[in-house]
Amino acid sequence: MKIGITTTVPIEVLYAAGYQVVDLNNIFISSKDYLRYIEIAERDGFPKSLCAWIKGIYGACIENNIKEVVGVIEGDCSNTKALVEVLKSKGIKIYPFSYPTKHTLDEVKKSIDDFINQFNVSKQEVERVRNKLNIGRKLAKEIDRLTVEFKATGFENHLYQISLSDFNGDVDGFINILKQKVEEIKNRKPKVKKLKLAYIGVPPMTGDLYDFVEGFDAQIIYNEVQREFAFPRFDMVKDIYEQYYYYTYPYSLQYRLEEIKKQLKERDIDGVIHYTQAFCYRAIDDIIIKSQLEVPVLNIEGDKLNCLDARTKIRIEAFLDMLKDLKGD
C-alpha cells in the first residue's frame, strides 16, 4: 500500500506500518510530465501565483492515484495546510503530523508518539526500522563526504541525499543502489574546482543548476536541506525522538542558520546560493540569511520551469566570476 508524503516526516513509522512511502515532491520533479502536474492543479483551481511545488505535489498525488497522504500541518508552510484540506475534500485519507512550534524534546516526543499511535505500531518496531534506514543514511553521509573531496558531483550529492526522504519507496533496493554508488564514486579521481559553493534553501526546481556551476570551475559541495533529509546526525542520537528534534529544516531560521554556519566553516565555502521558490514566504528569510552569513550570498528564484532561465544563468556567471577574483590565483 502506498502512502504519499509532502515533506520529510518520520518515515520509520510508515515503513513499520507496512507502507510503501512515496515522496510526492520526488515524483513531481523527476517526471517528464512535471508541467502537466502543475496544469492539473491549476485547472482544479490552484492560483497562478502559488508555489509550483504545491501544485506539482497535488497533480502527482491525483495522477498517481495515491489514496493516503501524511499531511504536515505544523512546521511546514501554510500552503501545505490548504493543500491537505483540498486533498481531504477529494477523498484522500490524511494522517496529520506536526513539527511542534515549541522546539523541545518533550514536544517532539509527543508529536511522534501521536503519529505512532495513528498507525498502531510499536516503538520497538519503529526503532528497528530506524536502525535499518541508518544503513542508508550512513551511505548518504559517505557520498556527502566524497562530495567535499570533489569525487561526487553536486548533483549526485543532491540526488542521493534528497532521495532519503522516502528511500525511493524501496528501502532494501535503495540501500543497494547507494552501496554501488559509493563504491563507484570512491574509485574516481577527484575533479577539484576552484570555488566551493553551498546550496541552501528548499531543493531546486532547476536541477541543472549543479552542472551549470561546474562549468565555471565551481562546485556545490554542501546541500543544506537535502542533507537534512538524509539525517546526517543519525549516529549521534539515541532514538527517533532525538533524531527529529535535531532535524533543522522545520524549526526556526535561527536554528537552521547555526548548522549552516557550522557547515560553511567546516567545508571552507566561498559562496552561497540561496534558492527560493517564487511566491514562497521563505524568500523573506533571505534578509536574515544575508545579514548573518559572512560569505557572499546569491539569491536565485525558481518558478515553474525545471531548468535555469537565461537571466539567472548570467547572474550566476557574474557572481562566480567575481568570487574567483576574490579568491585570487
Partner: protein
C-alpha cells in the same frame, strides 16, 4: 601596496575612457572619441594594436580592458573583463561601499547592477532599444539647439513625450515646439521621457541607495526624478570613468593585493 602601473581602458560607444592607476591611486585619466580612437590610435591584426605612445601613455605593467563587444575591446596583451564587473569594481573603488545598486547610463547602454558584500548578485541591461541612453539626449539637444548641460538642468513641469521610438520622439518634440510649449518644459520633457524609459529596468532593483555612473549621470534632471524612487541617489565622482577605474581596480583585486 602593490607598486604597479595599471592601465584601464573602457571602450564605450561614444568615448574611449582611459585611466592609469599607480600604487592603488588613479594618477591620470582622459577620454578620446571612439571613432578617433579606432581610426588614429589603433591597428587591427587579429587583435587591436594600440599606439600607446601616441595616446600619451608612457609605460605600464598591466592592461585591463572592457567595453561593448568582445572583439572590439580585445587589445593585445590586455585582459578583457566584462562591463558589469568593471562597473562593480569601479563603484567599489570610488565609494568604498560593498552593498549598492548602480545605474550606469552610457551612450547606447544602460546597465543596472546590484552588489552585495562586494560581489555582483543581480544585473539587467537594455536590449533592442537605446532610446534611454545618452545618444537620445544628444539628438534631442541638437533639435532644441541647446547644450547637453543646459538641457539637463530643466526638470519641472515636463511636457509629455510618449513615443517609444527615439526617432519618432524627435518629430513629437518638433510638434511641441510648433505648439509653442515653453523651452523649459520641452527640455524637462526630454529628460522625463529618458527617465520613463529607464524605470522598467529599475523595478527589480529596489533599495535605499542608488549610485549613478556613465555619461548620463551628469544629467541633473534625471537625478531629480530618481530621487523620487530612492532615499539617496549618489552620482559617482567620476561617473564617466567608472568602467575604466574598475578595470584598474580589478587588476589589484585579482592579484589578491587589496582583499
Amino acid at each position: 601596496m602593490i607598486k604597479l602601473r595599471i592601465l584601464g581602458i573602457d571602450l564605450g560607444s561614444r568615448f574611449v575612457k582611459v585611466a592609469l592607476m599607480e600604487n592603488g591611486k588613479i594618477v591620470e585619466k582622459f577620454k578620446v572619441s571612439t571613432v578617433k580612437f579606432y581610426k588614429e590610435y589603433c591597428r587591427y591584426e587579429k587583435k587591436l594594436l594600440v599606439d600607446f605612445k601616441r595616446l600619451g601613455i608612457d609605460k605600464f605593467d598591466v592592461g585591463v580592458s572592457t567595453g561593448y563587444g568582445r572583439n572590439n575591446v580585445d587589445i593585445e596583451n590586455f585582459k578583457i573583463i566584462n562591463e558589469l564587473k568593471a562597473h562593480a569594481y569601479g563603484a567599489i573603488y570610488q565609494t568604498g561601499l560593498k552593498n549598492f545598486i548602480l545605474l550606469d547610463v552610457g551612450g547606447q547602454d544602460v546597465k543596472v547592477i546590484r552588489v552585495e558584500k562586494g560581489i555582483l548578485t543581480d544585473l539587467d541591461l537594455n536590449d533592442k532599444c537605446a532610446a534611454s541612453c545618452g545618444r537620445f539626449l544628444e539628438n534631442m539637444a541638437k533639435i532644441l539647439e541647446v547644450s547637453l548641460d543646459e538641457l539637463s538642468s530643466f526638470y519641472e513641469n515636463p511636457v509629455e513625450l510618449n513615443s517609444t521610438c527615439a526617432v519618432f520622439s524627435e518629430s513629437e518634440l518638433i510638434g511641441k515646439i510648433a505648439e509653442g510649449v515653453p523651452f523649459e518644459r520641452l527640455c524637462a520633457g526630454v529628460n522625463f521621457s529618458l527617465y520613463n524609459r529607464l524605470r522598467p529596468l529599475l523595478t527589480k532593483f529596489k533599495g535605499r541607495t542608488l549610485l549613478l555612473s556613465g555619461g548620463v549621470a551628469k544629467n541633473k534632471a534625471l537625478l531629480e526624478y530618481l530621487k523620487r524612487d530612492y532615499d539617496e541617489v549618489k552620482v559617482l565622482d567620476n561617473p564617466e570613468y567608472n568602467g575604466a577605474f574598475g578595470c584598474c581596480f580589478y587588476a589589484i583585486k585579482s592579484k589578491g593585493g587589496l582583499k
